[in-house]
């Protein structure tokens, strides 16, 4: 009882302090500045409300916002800048939130359509994952996500198998072995490679690699997860090299010198000191590469077959059907109704997957900071 009243006092104390701060702020600031900032904030809120209501009058509060912000910028720059940067931060979050909510809301109809009853309980959306048939046109119409998830997993696995060893080895060479001049030339060069548009890779894959592979492996027509995975892995490579190199070269020199002073060779220092110390950073690099591979659209779309079905057997990488991203890219133009909603489901799955990968990468980074202290 005593504790609760204590907490209550503390809360009212915090609240009172807040109120006092606000009052001080209001007292200290010029009334004219307060009015300007107030008008800016209120007109911005009104613009957001107008935008959400799809009102043609939105332009009025938005005009007021621009004018008052412009006036405030000239007269009370410090305060206005504070308010503006804060509102920009809020709008960024709001916009991203609205997009997320929209994707989820759009996918609801197909989740309802693909409901299944298990032990007398209706589970919405379960059939999306419990059967493997996708057919948007001829009955029975089914929108299974399993083939696309399978495709994404295949492509990502192969891409990681290409990008991780190559990327880590290259990063190790750049960070530890290469002379400084070589590193200074190669590092920016690799980063420039990351900027090559994915359609260029896709185009080379579609016109040269895929027909060649179909010929060599005697598959029926072109399009294989193997080659999409290789191409996507090469695309993710610059990201992996660049981030892993940063992690490796930020291992404190003192740790390496200490190891060398104990009489180890360079290679022993690399494998037993540098790599373990930078393990978290290198993992984050690989995870970023994986994230890029999952989200890769253009190369996958032009190189894959675009027919959602599982390959037989499941590990057969010589046939490539569809990934979550290529499904959306192939069908958005023609889809309507439930088929369109099914594309949003693919978007939701991608969103959740990439979210987990980003959180994972952040967590690893946080652990690295904790483990090695302020040095990294």
């Amino acid at each position: 009882m005593a504790r609760t009243s204590n907490e209550a006092t503390a809360e009212t104390g915090a609240l009172a302090r807040r109120r006092r701060q606000l009052r001080d702020f209001v007292d200290e600031t010029e009334p004219a500045a307060l009015v300007t900032v107030g008008v800016t904030v209120i007109s911005l809120l009104a613009s957001v409300a107008g935008f959400l209501a799809v009102s043609p009058l939105t332009i009025v509060p938005f005009g007021v916002f621009l004018t008052s912000a412009g006036y405030g910028w000239i007269r009370y720059q410090g305060l206005t800048a504070k308010v503006l940067t804060f509102s920009m931060m809020v709008s960024t979050i709001l916009i991203l939130l609205l997009i997320t909510v929209f994707i989820f809301v759009e996918s609801i109809p197909v989740i309802q359509y693909e409901s299944t009853t298990v032990f007398g309980v209706t589970v919405p959306g379960l059939r999306l994952f419990t059967q493997t048939q996708w057919d948007a046109v001829s009955p029975p119409i089914r929108y299974s996500m399993v083939p696309m998830i399978h495709g994404t997993v295949m492509v990502t696995t192969i891409a990681t198998a290409v990008a991780a060893p190559l990327g880590i080895a290259a990063a190790l060479f750049l960070a530890e072995i290469a002379p400084p001049t070589v590193r200074e030339v190669i590092k920016p060069g690799v980063e420039i490679l990351a900027g090559i548009p994915s359609i260029v890779y896709g185009f080379i894959g579609f016109t040269i690699l895929s027909p060649w592979a179909a010929d060599q492996f005697r598959t029926t027509g072109q399009g294989s997860y193997l080659f999409v995975g290789i191409v996507v892995g090469l695309m993710a490579l610059p990201t992996v090299v660049s981030v892993a190199e940063d992690a490796l070269s930020s291992v404190p020199e003192s740790m390496k010198s200490g190891s060398l002073a104990m009489g180890t060779t360079d290679w022993q220092t690399m494998t037993s000191i540098t790599l373990p110390a930078a393990f978290s950073g290198v993992s984050a690099a690989v995870l970023l590469g994986v994230g890029r591979a999952i989200g890769e659209t253009m190369a996958a779309t032009v190189m894959l077959r675009g027919v959602p079905q599982l390959t037989k057997p499941l590990y057969n990488a010589f046939y490539g059907q569809a990934t979550l991203t290529s499904l959306i890219a192939n069908n958005y133009g023609e889809a309507d109704g439930l088929q369109m909603d099914a594309l949003f489901i693919a978007g939701v799955i991608l969103f959740i997957t990439v979210l987990f990968i980003s959180v994972g990468a952040q967590y690893i980074e946080w652990r690295m900071h904790k483990k090695l202290g302020g040095d990294i």
Binding site: A136, V137, G221, G223
Partner: protein, 386 residues
């Protein structure tokens, strides 16, 4: 289209020079309203107007409206017509050192484009580019709207991708009494195979075989007389118009299953590239993309063999070929024109029935040109040439 814009720019530049005080914004405004300035320039060639009215020739603006499917053909034709390019142009009309328009060998004239076609029906030639004897304009709406507009006399030509009987709910005889049906091209997809299959002797399939291939009942070319090779079956984006019409006309229903499809592509270019790059491929796509490595094949529908040859008795260019539909331009029968097609309409429509028109306006827009016998039949519906 681009030529139409160029001509508009020319006119506005001339205006700009005359009214030297005009500011940049006015010049821009002149550019954007190129239709208006074209009309103005058409009217501005007053001398030719005056002379032609003496001959009793009608040189009003020729108007057309309707289907978005026919629009590319009709609008490109009108743009070429309004530009009235001279034979030295090479790109849009005639021939020069750099290029020659398709079908030029049968035309061989020293007149400008619209002057030539209008001249065939007795119109006075202007000899000026961007200034034809009369201008043509095409509006974009729907097949039904285009048919209604020509019925109500709002436009001269009604564009429709479906027969007017269906659009306006008329019987065949009613439609024949009121309208003349000019077919200018066809929309559809020939079935194509890769060159290795074509060279191995598979140059004809039955409709039933195509159905079995797309429904996974035939999976090897050896089952239809070809080499021992798996069939690479290419389809179009699921649920797209081409996909639906193929299911409807070949597989027996708009929702017929297609379990045999190995690969789906959204665009004709991708289909052509995939067929060219892979052995043992079969696909359906717009005719404009066929080449030596992408060969159209003959299809046998219930005993009728439709051949990929314009001059054959039954061809894949026919309207009877199940994957095709006619693209119509309707004109109305009135008291003034009991034949249904006046000289203005006749001259304009005749342009589409030449080799030049069929290639440039029909085939280059990915539609199917008319076979020789249909062109002859269509030409008979037009008024007598002068």
């Amino acid at each position: 289209m681009s030529d139409g814009t160029t001509s508009g720019t020319d006119v506005s530049r001339r205006k700009f020079l005359v009214s030297s005080s005009a500011i940049g914004a006015a010049g821009l405004a002149g550019c954007t309203s190129d239709g208006g300035s074209n009309e103005a320039s058409g009217g501005g060639g007053g001398s030719s107007d005056g002379e032609s009215s003496d001959d009793g020739m009608n040189t009003e603006l020729l108007t057309a409206e309707g289907s978005s499917t026919v629009y590319p053909i009709s609008n490109k034709g009108a743009s070429y017509w309004n530009a009235n390019a001279p034979p030295s142009d090479g790109e849009y009309w005639g021939s020069n050192d750099e290029s020659t328009v398709p079908g030029w060998s049968e035309l061989q004239t020293d007149k400008n484009l619209a002057d030539y076609f209008a001249g065939l029906y007795g119109f006075e030639e202007t000899g000026q580019r961007s200034d034809p004897a009369y201008n043509a304009t095409v509006s974009l709406s729907h097949s039904g709207t285009g048919c209604k507009a020509v019925r109500d006399g709002l436009v001269d030509i009604g564009n429709s991708s479906g027969p007017i009987t269906a659009e306006l709910g008329l019987s065949d005889s009613e439609a024949e009494e009121q309208f003349v049906d000019h077919v200018v091209g066809r929309d559809g997809q020939p079935v194509v195979v890769s060159s290795d299959i074509y060279d191995a002797g598979v140059t004809q399939l039955t409709g039933e075989q195509v159905r079995q291939i797309y429904q996974d009942e035939i999976t090897n070319w050896s089952e239809v007389g070809g080499p021992d090779q798996e069939i690479f079956v290419i389809g179009r984006a699921e649920g797209s118009g081409t996909d639906t019409s193929f299911r409807l006309n070949m597989l027996g229903g708009a929702d017929a299953p297609m379990p045999g499809v190995n690969s789906r592509f959204g665009q004709n270019q991708q289909v052509a590239e995939a067929v060219a790059n892979n052995d043992g491929a079969i696909a359906y796509m717009a005719l404009a993309f066929v080449s030596d490595s992408v060969q159209p094949i003959a299809i046998d529908f219930e005993g009728t063999v439709f051949e990929p040859d314009k001059d054959a008795e039954n061809t894949i260019f026919d309207s009877a070929y199940p994957l095709n539909r006619d693209l119509h331009m309707y004109t109305k029968i009135t008291e003034d024109t009991p034949s249904g097609t006046d000289l203005r309409e006749g001259a304009f429509l005749n342009m589409f029935l030449t080799d030049f028109g069929q290639i440039v306006f029909v085939e280059q827009n990915n539609y199917i040109p008319l076979p020789t016998k249909d062109i002859e039949a269509e030409a008979e519906k037009l008024p007598e040439q002068a």
